[in-house]
Amino acid sequence: MIEFKNVVKQYPNGFRAVDSLNLQVHEGEICVLIGPSGCGKTTSMRMINRLISITSGEILIDGQPNNELPVEELRRQIGYAIQQIGLLPHMTVSDNIAIVPKLLRWDTDRIQKRVDELLDLVGLDPDITRDKFPRQLSGGQQQRVGVARALGADPPIMLMDEPFGAVDPITREVLQAEFLQIQERVGKTIIFVTHDIDEAIKMGDRIAIMREGRLVQYDTPDTILAHPINRFVRDFVGTDRTLKRLGLVKIRNLMTTEPPYCTMDSTSEEASQCFVDYSASSIFIVDKDDHTLKGWVDKEELKGNTSLLDAMYEAHWVDIAVREDATAREALSAMVARGFRITPVVDRHGKLVGTLTLKALQDLASYDPDAIIPENNGVSG
């Protein structure tokens, strides 16, 4: 756990970059520091490993003030990744990752094993990447190596200053998702600095919004989106914060799990019975063996046709359903585009698992956040 206690950073010219900051970062959580430039977020982060000195107050790491250890020793226990990546261009990937383990005098076998393990973890093939130099890698690969290097000596705490800032938006999304998966496995305590609110919402277990050296609001992404504490936060998170909130919730948590359906081989009599049973105006048609969604049929259509197949609207599930692991925001987008008031929900094989109504989404958007249980704060599984 990291604890800021009345931390102040004042420069000789009197400028207070950080002003009585109190903040607790819980074990195993990602705490995102965010705010407009000059708000003191990077300064706060850099005071943790004493790249910037504290003017007054203290920072406790697991209860110990961070100025008790010799500064180099402290830094070697804290992973560090920055936007410009800072890979040493004259060292191979393997040497870069091995920097902190070497500083800690690990034996060479252990270092080599650790390097390969980390390369695997960040999705790079050790045999191909190990002996390359940074300039032989793409931007995304370099960022991955940067993350691997920060994890080098398996530090319990990591400081990340816009670690995915130097790549294109598509690669950034991939890296973010990958990093969340890694975090699920390693469970580090992470201070993550960014200026991108979407990144903060996606990555943060908690978000600390700062302004002019002071902490304005510190809460979970959902609470911040639902209850911005003041106008500054509301403006900062943006006017589309309702949509952003929807982006935090998985469909799986909103859908009804008993969809009205019958199988492809049903007779029209059996299908009619379904309409009665579910008291629905349309029912979904699924494959009789694996329950893959095949289409739907409206009550009116069935009346005029003798066979179910003739009455049925047939389509591939990709075009008419949403996946249960998609976010509510994605579902809303799909439903608006398709003109649906109700949409089938499928698993990743296309098997029908539930339905979602537009009304459920509306309810969520205007709803008290305390009642919603966002699954793992938007971490994709």
Binding site: N49, L51, V71, E72, E73, L74, R75, R76, Q77, Y80, I82, Q83, Q84, I85, G86, L87, L88, P89, H90, M91, T92, D95, I99, V100, L103, T108, D109, I111, Q112, F133, P134, R135, R149, G152, L159
Partner: protein, 544 residues
């Protein structure tokens, strides 16, 4: 690609025309009745009416035909071969002709001319022919590079003409030329002057390296000193070398008269004062009005310069004398030993460094590396102490004057000090630039990972700045070879002796005798340092 260089090789056409023009219009050889009298020039076509030598002219025209060959690979090799042949034959054929010319010397001159010891001088056509041959070769090499020829092939292509020329030179084929006659008679002195020249450059470069990197580092680290240091070394560079010798003359002569113990006491006292001033002025900086702050810095800098300068003057001069006496007073086997040791150090550092990286676990490689280093350092120290002992030559401490250490107004002391000063600008500037160019984000990440300032310097800043620092070393080394020639004016010896003598007696062959070895020294030195740079620079930051 009409008109592009893919169709024809324009460079070689130029070379061919230059060589042919030279052979057609310019005198090839000059025969003089004796070394100093004016002589008769001979054109290529006038040589005894012997048509053999016309072949040279025809050869010069051959690239004109080859250059239009469109198959680039074939054209490249044809041009390379012709260029090399042209270089080789331009040296060899006139030498053959010269033999006939000398035999018939009596018939050439007017009646009554005193012919004693007639000499053959190479004339302008040979220089132009060599230049043309080299340009043809260069054009061919460009084609080879475009054909992506391997390093070995390129090396072979660029050097076999020179290798053949060296072979005939050693074999005595060129002994007819006056410059070689001079070499015959002055060869021993030439060797000694060459060694002097080499040691001058070596010691000045080594001293400059230590001072230059220290100053460059200081300038890069300390914003207050940045301007002072860069201006100071820049100003040194603008002082003409002759003036610098003059400026050094009086103080060095005075210094030479002092006894060692006096100077040593003065050194200690001035050092204490300077260090005290430096720290006190540094501490009270913030309490002083900002107007006089820069002056306190300059004052403490100048105060510090006195003892440090004194130490350097004595150290460098004495070091030079010691190294020199190792070279001059030892026999060949000792010099070979020295070269062998230097070689062992480089090989040990490189080979073991690489394998240390690869096979992390092998401890004995580390042991071996340190053993070799220790033995080599020990042997070098013994050799240098021997040399130093010869310089002091058994003086007791009471009798020892600074002059006994080699410091005097003229001769080697001002020369080596001036050379060291001249080497500073490229070294300081490149060290400063190299260190300043290291991406701050990289240093920040090193700090953030818990590297100590020392580790950051040796593992990050130095390796990244190395190519730029090395460029400064090469720059300094080459210019030192040139400046060292001037040192002869104040009696420091070196290859400048021949050049000065040649200028004073207007004999080109003596000038060449001094200039050619200097040029060779510069080229070899640069090539060696380039090789070293390539070996020591990480592939991750090498130019591609």
């Amino acid at each position: 690609m009409i008109g592009g260089s893919a169709i024809s090789n324009r460079i070689s056409i130029l070379g061919s025309l230059i060589a042919a023009f030279g052979f057609f219009f310019l005198p090839l050889l000059e025969i003089k009745p004796n070394r100093l009298a004016s002589g008769i020039t001979v054109n290529l076509f006038e040589i005894q009416g012997d048509l053999r030598y016309i072949a040279l002219f025809i050869l010069a025209l051959v690239p004109l035909i080859i250059a239009f060959q469109s198959d680039r690979a074939r054209r490249a090799w044809a041009l390379v071969i012709t260029g090399n042949l042209l270089i080789f034959l331009t040296l060899l054929l006139p030498a053959n002709a010269a033999i006939d010319l000398l035999d018939g010397a009596e018939t050439l001159f007017e009646e009554g001319t005193q012919i004693s010891n007639p000499r053959i001088f190479t004339s302008s056509a040979i220089a132009v022919g060599l230049l043309g041959g080299y340009i043809v070769l260069f054009g061919g090499l460009r084609d080879l590079v475009a054909e992506k020829a391997g390093t070995l092939q390129r090396l072979l292509a660029s050097s076999f003409g020179i290798a053949l020329s060296v072979f005939i030179l050693v074999n005595g084929e060129l002994d007819i030329y006056s410059v070689m006659v001079e070499f015959e008679s002055r060869g021993a002195t030439l060797g000694q002057r060459f060694v002097e020249h080499f040691v001058f450059v070596l010691v000045a470069l080594a001293a400059g390296l230590v001072i230059g990197i220290a100053l460059g580092l200081w300038a890069a680290r300390d914003e207050r000193m940045e301007d002072i240091i860069l201006y100071a070394v820049g100003i040194i560079q603008t002082v003409p070398s002759l003036a610098l010798f003059g400026v050094l003359l009086v103080p060095l002569a005075r210094l030479g008269d002092r006894s060692f113990t006096d100077v040593f006491q003065f050194f200690i006292i001035s050092l204490l004062i300077a260090v005290a001033a430096f720290f006190i002025l540094g501490r009270i900086q913030t309490f002083l009005p900002s107007a006089i702050r820069p002056w306190t810095i300059i004052t403490s800098f100048i105060l510090l310069t006195i003892p440090v300068g004194l130490l350097l003057i004595m150290g460098i001069t004495f070091g030079f004398e010691a190294v020199m006496s190792v070279f001059v007073d030892s026999d060949l086997s000792q010099i070979l030993l020295l070269v062998g040791i230097a070689y062992a150090i480089v090989v040990a550092m490189l080979a073991l460094d690489r394998s240390l990286d690869r096979a992390h676990a092998i401890g004995w490689l580390r042991v071996m590396r340190y053993t070799i280093l220790a033995v080599a350092t020990f042997t070098l120290t013994i050799l240098l102490i021997n040399g130093a002992g010869q310089v002091i030559d058994g003086e007791t401490l009471e009798d020892l004057t600074i002059r006994d250490l080699g410091v005097s107004g003229i001769g080697t002391a001002p020369a080596i000090i001036a050379l060291t000063l001249y080497s500073l600008l490229p070294l300081v500037r490149n060290t400063y630039t190299g260190l300043r160019n290291v991406d701050p984000a990289i240093i920040d990440s090193g700090r953030g990972m818990g590297m100590t300032p020392r580790q950051i310097f040796f593992q990050i800043e130095l390796p990244l700045a190395f190519p730029i620092i090395m460029a400064g070393i090469r720059n300094a080394g080459i210019s030192l070879v040139g400046i060292a020639a001037v040192a002869s004016i104040i009696g420091a010896g070196a290859l400048g002796d021949f050049i000065l003598l040649g200028v004073n007696t207007t004999s080109v062959d003596l000038i060449l005798l001094g200039a050619i070895p200097a040029v060779v020294l510069a080229i070899v030195l640069d090539a060696l340092m380039q090789l070293l740079e390539g070996l020591l620079t990480s592939p991750g930051i090498q130019r591609q």
